[in-house]
């Protein structure tokens, strides 16, 4: 119900009371708009809904509202609805644009200024989703299943390790179902030392695992891989970087498993002795 000035002795009708009750409980029917609209004084205390496939605006002018007045605005349409300062001032800590199904409230602080308080809206669909973190304590082998699925195509894998035996090399194999795949690992990583005087390479094709060969003299390493796993079944690709204190070298490179499988997990082993460390895996939203 639009804001009114009641007079002494006025008899309110049932319709007026129902409308007031709805407004007080924020249950009043919204005033539906289908095109850009300029607010009028009667909109104070009401809700406005916008339904348009194209972009629209809600314009706010001065000398129509008093301090404390509010107007709720909801965008039902696919077109973005933007709250626009006409002759009034409109401030916000968020955005003045309402995407579909977003809503906000204009809260007037004077006749010429309002704050737009926008609702949280939908959570962005993009970003990393945590899948698994496994802590490894002096284990000879570590198997982690159910990491990869058709839910995501791209993954980020963070692996850090401290080798328990001097000269030992960590090895990474991928799994499908309960089978550990031990063939067709092709990779090439190259690194340059901090001093820039040494260039080191570890690579190979048709190998039985992805071996982080340069760990042996450092005993400690971190590996970050960005994995592309085809939906259902296909070759697995990854690129990333690998750090080990040995000569202060950071390596960058790529990995491919030239076998078509529905990749689902990993197993970490060593060339000798046990390994302590951890693995964290995130999935990246498809869009």
């Amino acid at each position: 119900m639009a804001k009114q000035t009641f007079t002494t002795g006025q008899v309110l009708t049932a319709a007026q009371l129902t409308s007031l009750q709805q407004t007080a409980m924020l249950g009043g029917a919204a005033s539906a708009k289908t095109a850009s609209y300029t607010l009028v004084a009667a909109d104070a205390g009401t809700a406005i809904s916008m339904s348009s496939a194209s972009a629209t605006t809600i314009t706010v002018n001065t000398a129509l509202f008093a301090a404390g007045d509010t107007v709720q605005i909801t965008n039902l349409g696919a077109g973005v609805c933007t709250i626009t300062a006409g002759t009034a001032t409109v401030n916000t800590s968020a955005s003045l644009a309402l995407a579909q199904y977003e809503s906000g409230t204009l809260d007037f602080t004077s006749t010429s200024a309002a704050i737009f308080i926008k609702g949280a809206g939908a959570t962005a669909s993009s970003g990393l989703t945590f899948i698994n973190r496994t802590v490894i304590t002096a284990a000879a082998t570590t198997t982690i299943d159910s990491l990869f699925s058709d839910t995501y195509e791209n993954y980020r894998l963070e692996f850090y390790c401290q080798m328990g035996t001097s000269g030992s090399i960590p090895k990474l194999n991928f799994r499908y179902g309960t089978t550990t795949h031990s063939a067709n690992y092709n990779y090439g990583f190259e690194g340059t030392s901090i001093s820039g005087t040494a260039s080191n390479v570890f690579n190979g094709s048709g190998l039985t695992s992805f071996s982080l060969e340069q760990v042996s003299s450092g005993g400690f390493a971190t590996l970050n891989l960005f994995i592309t796993r085809p939906a259902s079944s296909g070759f697995l690709f990854a690129n990333g970087f690998f750090n080990t204190p040995y000569k202060g070298i950071t390596y960058g490179g790529g990995l491919q498993i030239a076998s078509a499988q529905a990749w689902s997990g990993i197993v970490i082993t060593t060339s000798a002795g046990t390994l302590t460390g951890g693995v964290t895996v995130y999935g990246m939203a498809k869009s």
């Binding site: 490894i136 002096a138 284990a139 001097s166 060593t270 002795g273």
Partner: protein
């Protein structure tokens, strides 16, 4: 690199399966130790080959009467 006695150093071995730790059974233990021993033999062979190559390279440089840097210059 000296040869390691893995059986003495690791009388028991642990495997981590989907976040849970288990002690390896006898068959898994033997397979893992055998793999580690084979890996170490291969690493020792590589190390011996690298040392032999380094010795031969030093002898050749001495015979030619040039430094390693001068040899790099010739190859560049």
């Amino acid at each position: 690199m000296a040869k390691t006695n893995f059986r003495k150093e690791f009388p028991k071995l642990v495997k981590n399966v989907n976040g849970e730790q288990f002690e390896m059974d006898a068959e898994e233990y033997e397979a893992t130790i055998a793999l580690w021993e084979a890996n170490e033999i291969e690493a020792l062979a590589k190390q011996a080959e690298a040392q032999a190559n380094a010795t031969a390279r030093a002898a050749l440089l001495s015979k030619l009467g040039i430094t390693a840097e001068e040899a790099q210059l010739l190859l560049s």
